[in-house]
Symmetry: C2
Subunit: 140 residues, 2 copies
Amino acid sequence: MDVLPQELRELIESGPLAHLSTVSPDGSPQVTVIWVGLDGDQLVSGHLSRNQKLRNIERDPRVVLSLEAPRDPSVFLNEHAVLRAHAAIEPSDEAWDLLNRLTKVYMRPAQEFPAPRTPGYIIRYTVERIGGVGPWTRQS
Amino acid sequence: MDVLPQELRELIESGPLAHLSTVSPDGSPQVTVIWVGLDGDQLVSGHLSRNQKLRNIERDPRVVLSLEAPRDPSVFLNEHAVLRAHAAIEPSDEAWDLLNRLTKVYMRPAQEFPAPRTPGYIIRYTVERIGGVGPWTRQS
């Protein structure tokens, strides 16, 4: 998918938690809740250690990121986005900087990322299919 | 897991959206966002059609349900629960009644489930491991 719908970009930039689903070596689903941001038309996340989700992605880059819009009890099923994506991991000296940028979105503008600056990994997510409920699924 | 921690029970009963992760026949993750409730120490969800997630569970009952606690920008990573569970599907005349009960939690107390009453399916989730961030992971 070359261009993300504007409403989806706004949702992502508003700082929703992202539920990252990968598949473990035994074939069972694995989920962690992470921070995400945008870099052009890709989503990005920062990681300071090579944990289970990174090892899963190295083996199989097919992932899902699911994000909730703010809750609205007047609608039947709350708006949310389910993004099937291809994930690519790159070792990066700027993982901490990405995390620090996201800290200001997910926590407070004046907050610094509360861990020492070390090299890490950036995951880039290329969205292949947009599902869920919301204006992002009503675009062609 | 025989008994769910009380804090987790309270989170589930407060009406958080549940991100249900299963695995599709091609081995890729599949996610849908659903309503869940409690029945004893199992989670339950109601479904009126036998869609992809049900077919995935019939093939492999290992699932993850991930749920967010209310957002709190003062904490580092917002509280959330990641529940690895065994899912079991049963055809049920009471799927609609479960959905109608959950409508009152997820929408409004006076709201009826906005679809005709028909037979469907109930999925029962037996929690096998509790992860995430929150008081539910600090219990032994």
